[in-house]
């Protein structure tokens, strides 16, 4: 097979490269970081190449081995998929660098070197598997393949969460594994219903066959419940905070920034593409209500936490709610904006939440704990990390010019356009609550302590501080480069062309 810039075959690279890297990491004992970094870098460049292809040649489909559906496996590219791929590639690269800094720092600690080395040994192959799974999820064009990628993600996520080896994290990750399996099984059951009704698994074919039958409704319900379990929408969020907060810092980043986005992405595609004809307004309203509850409940819980990582984990619960509030607003005049709302929200959250968890991890390494009331004086010793935390917090609050601001602007304007002003109230209340929990920590950073009671004063490596800052800055300035993501999106969904007849800015 020859890889020219214009062949669709590049699309398999994001799946295959990390998979190979994962196997290599597993087999080799040394240089695992170099292998992983090479894969992450390659993934990064391929993501840009695919976007270039999309802009030049439009959406593509690649039939693996030349087998067309319904027999073969399809990979396809379009705007939303590639933006999610890009999000994974960018944060993935930063996570790889951060994890390197993290494990080096831990291993340099003379206590329990063996355990830290073992953690690192398992981390790299699992992380590469996760990357392959996520990329596969975004690119797959076939509903059963998606099940496989979901399983891959679920199993590697649960194993990653268990890496820290502490009893709390093991309990949490075991619960996570069970929930994840339950979600996958429900999803599989949904596929069975779907296959019974339509007889095909390819998304494109299913789309044409979707009709309002009982089987389809059952399939929709089962797929939704399965994916919601994995996305941790309130009230199915109970497993998320302990699993995310007790994991190792790089793992928390992966789980919070990327994994929940994967299942959400799938859910969103199903609701707005596959099942769009049979989704009723009341169902959309129901999802929106759950999202609103999630925003408020997650934020209130985040305000009440005493540990930094738990607070950030609850903030994820809250931020996921915004993605669902977009559902009921999809039917108004500017409804096709719904993809851009979701994408901007997801991209900002991925970058900002990664930066925040990275900063929390660095603070933890530096102080040896993450109790919010004892964080005084960190600003003086870790200025870059604190700055990254602050900027990420600003993005999460949705202040301009972050990407979340663009998303919130669109949410607000569609809620006014359709006179559903209560969503606007929820959105603004969520922002204000986010302000409270972000700055509760921030003000502690600014306290000048009486005596310098730090556990150790080893300087942190730049790998622990700079990836966080760069991701935070990306999330903050995403709003300023909004026309580019919009342009990429407009290549994907046909609905987009209708609202911007005059072309994009």
């Amino acid at each position: 097979m020859i890889f020219h810039a214009d062949t669709p075959s590049w699309v398999i690279a994001p799946v295959v490269l990390p998979l190979i890297a994962g196997l290599l990491c597993f087999l080799c004992n040394r240089r695992t970081f170099v292998i992983a970094l090479a894969a992450a870098l390659a993934n990064f460049f391929v993501a840009f190449l695919l976007i270039y292809q999309l802009l030049v040649f439009g959406p593509m489909r690649c039939y693996i081995g030349g087998w067309a559906p319904p027999l073969g496996i399809t990979l396809r590219t379009d705007g939303p998929a590639l933006l999610m791929l890009l999000m994974t590639a960018v944060t993935g690269l930063a996570i790889t660098l951060y994890a390197r800094g993290y494990f080096s720092y831990r291993i340099s600690d003379p206590v329990r070197v063996g355990r830290h080395q073992r953690q690192q040994r398992y981390f790299w192959p699992l992380w590469m598997l996760m990357l392959a799974g996520l990329n596969g999820l975004f690119l797959s064009g076939d509903i059963f393949n998606l099940y496989v990628t979901l399983e891959l993600i679920g199993i590697s996520a649960a194993s990653l969460a268990a890496l820290s080896g502490k009893p709390a994290s093991q309990r949490a990750s075991f619960r996570y594994l069970l929930i994840s399996l339950l979600g996958s099984l429900t999803y599989l059951l949904g596929i069975v219903f779907l296959y019974r009704s339509c007889g095909v698994l390819d998304l494109e074919m299913l789309r044409n066959l979707a009709a309002n039958g009982l089987g389809m409704r059952a399939a929709l319900a089962l797929l939704t419940v399965g994916l919601l379990l994995k996305t941790a929408l309130v009230p199915l969020h109970f497993w998320l905070p302990p699993a995310h907060a007790n994991a190792l810092a790089p793992v928390s980043v992966i789980l919070s920034a990327l994994v929940v986005k994967g299942s959400f992405y799938l859910l969103f595609r199903f609701w707005f593409e596959l099942f769009a004809p049979i989704v009723s307004m009341s169902a959309l309203n129901f999802m929106g209500t759950l999202g609103a509850i999630a925003i408020l409940w997650g934020a209130i819980q985040a305000m009440r936490q005493h540990r930094l990582k738990l607070m950030i984990a609850y903030s994820t619960v809250s931020q996921l709610g915004y993605l669902f509030v977009a559902f009921p607003l999809s039917r108004v005049a500017e409804g096709a904006q719904v993809w851009s709302i979701v994408i901007f929200m997801a991209l900002t959250h991925a970058c900002a939440k990664s930066a925040m968890f990275m900063a929390a991890g660095s603070v933890y390494l530096h102080l040896g704990h993450d109790r919010i009331k004892d964080l005084a004086g960190v600003r003086a010793s870790l200025p870059i990390t604190v700055f990254a935390y602050g900027i990420a917090g600003v993005s999460l609050m949705g202040l301009p010019p972050s990407g979340a601001f663009i998303a919130k602007w669109m949410l607000l304007s569609s809620s006014f356009a359709s006179s559903q002003w209560w969503w606007a109230l929820v959105i603004m209340a969520g922002s204000l609550l986010a302000m409270v929990y972000v700055f509760r920590v921030m003000s502690q950073f600014f306290v000048i302590p009486e005596e310098n009671a730090l556990k150790n004063s080893t300087p942190l490596s730049p790998l622990l501080e700079w990836p966080a800052l760069i991701l935070a800055l990306i999330s903050l300035f995403l709003g300023l480069i909004a026309p580019w993501p919009l342009r990429i999106l407009s290549q994907g969904s046909t609905a987009f062309a209708q609202i911007f007849p005059g072309g994009l800015p």
């Binding site: 202040l399 304007s413 006014f416 003000s443 000048i448 709003g479």
Partner: protein, 498 residues
Amino acid sequence: MNSGQLLLVAILLSSFIPGIIIFCLPEEKHRLRTILNLCGSIAKISLVLLMNAGIYYGYVFEIRIPLIPGVELLLNGDPLSALFATLSSVLWLLTTIYAVGYLEGSPNRSHFFGYFSLCVTVTIGIALAGNLVTFLLFYEMLTLTTYPLVIHRGTEKSLRAGRQYLIYAFSGGAVFLVAVVWLQSVVGPVDFSAAGFSPSYLDTHGTVLALIFGLLIIGVGVKAALVPLHGWLPQAMVAPAPVSALLHAVAVVKAGAFGIIRIVLDVYGAQNLLLLGVLPLLAAIATITILYGSVRALQQDDLKRRLAFSTISQVSYIALGMSMVDQPLAVIGALVHLVHQGLMKITLFFCAGNLAETLGIHRISEMSGVARRMPLTMAAFSVGALGMIGIPPTVGFVSKWYLGLGGLAGGNWWLLLVLGVSSLINAWYFLPILIKAWFGKQQGAWPEEMYIGRFETSLMLLVPPLVTAFIVMAAGLVANAQISPLAWVRFIVRGYTL
């Protein structure tokens, strides 16, 4: 990119780049930091003056950056933004000099001056904002950049004040965002240069537009400290003196007042507001704020708190003038007060800082006979205080004169009453201070006396208040000259059809 756009970018960068460099500088590079600050502020003043000349001769300064359909960032230099930009950049230079002297030897100076520069960048951004989205962007940024300054001391008290400041400011910002989006969903994108949307919307959406006007005023009213949204301002007095000076005279409170001017003149437009009939409400709030602030100021013994309540009252003159937007004279009074209040208030805060820094005086009851120890400082203070009362030939008189004329021209006799009562109370809370300081006897030793420099205090602390006090007098004396703030304000008002 044409030269006008380059100039706008350069104006913003002239404080942004020094700010970023200062963040990266090590703490002990004192001299380099000061040089950077001074070069930045002098460059900014020259660039702003250049822009003013361009604006006067009708040159267009405009940058548009589209974000999403219907939302774009727009920087636009018009006469009104020139007024605010000039005020901020000139006072920034003086405050920087003052802050260098004030923070001599205190910790975390690189952070302080970094945020200080960012804060001025953002303030200039507010001045140059050409539509509501851009205004909102810088308005929220202002909260973020001033927060570290407010809690600079890192004590429990300053953190509490900071928390309150954030809650007030971001709640205001949230209300403002909702109002902006709502307004845009009704009338579409509004550029300030349009000076008001088409009156045809009033027939169809009258109630909604009145409601949105209320929300917008609440949004900016938090920073402008309109009663009952003023609670954060007296608390924020725990910040170091240069920060208080900046907050009150240039950045935060002024940004709110400037927002009110923009909303009244450029978003809604005088004609629309008269038709909507919401202006009496604004007038009522402004009057209440003026009187309430003055009365509360009377009760304070802490000098900075008294000044804070005086700010609440004085800034509302601007809102009061804008509520009579159909009277050009009242509008002139309001606009010129934006500058005049800044000059007077910054003088007073500089002097209060000098007293605290040199003698450890924080309370008015400790000020007995202080003018003999620090005559120059107290002379500047007296000029500022007399200006606040409105005694000619200070600039305070000019503002009140035009406000009064505007009220008379519109037949609003009650306005004269408000002005009179408020001036009376101003005199009541400022004159005793002056009498005590000049004619009182020193009682015991000063709380914490320090001898800094050859004069009564260090030269860097002494020169800025003297300069601003001189401007307070001079701009009042030559108010009719070609280059006075008043002349520029007349030039602004000529651009509107009121």
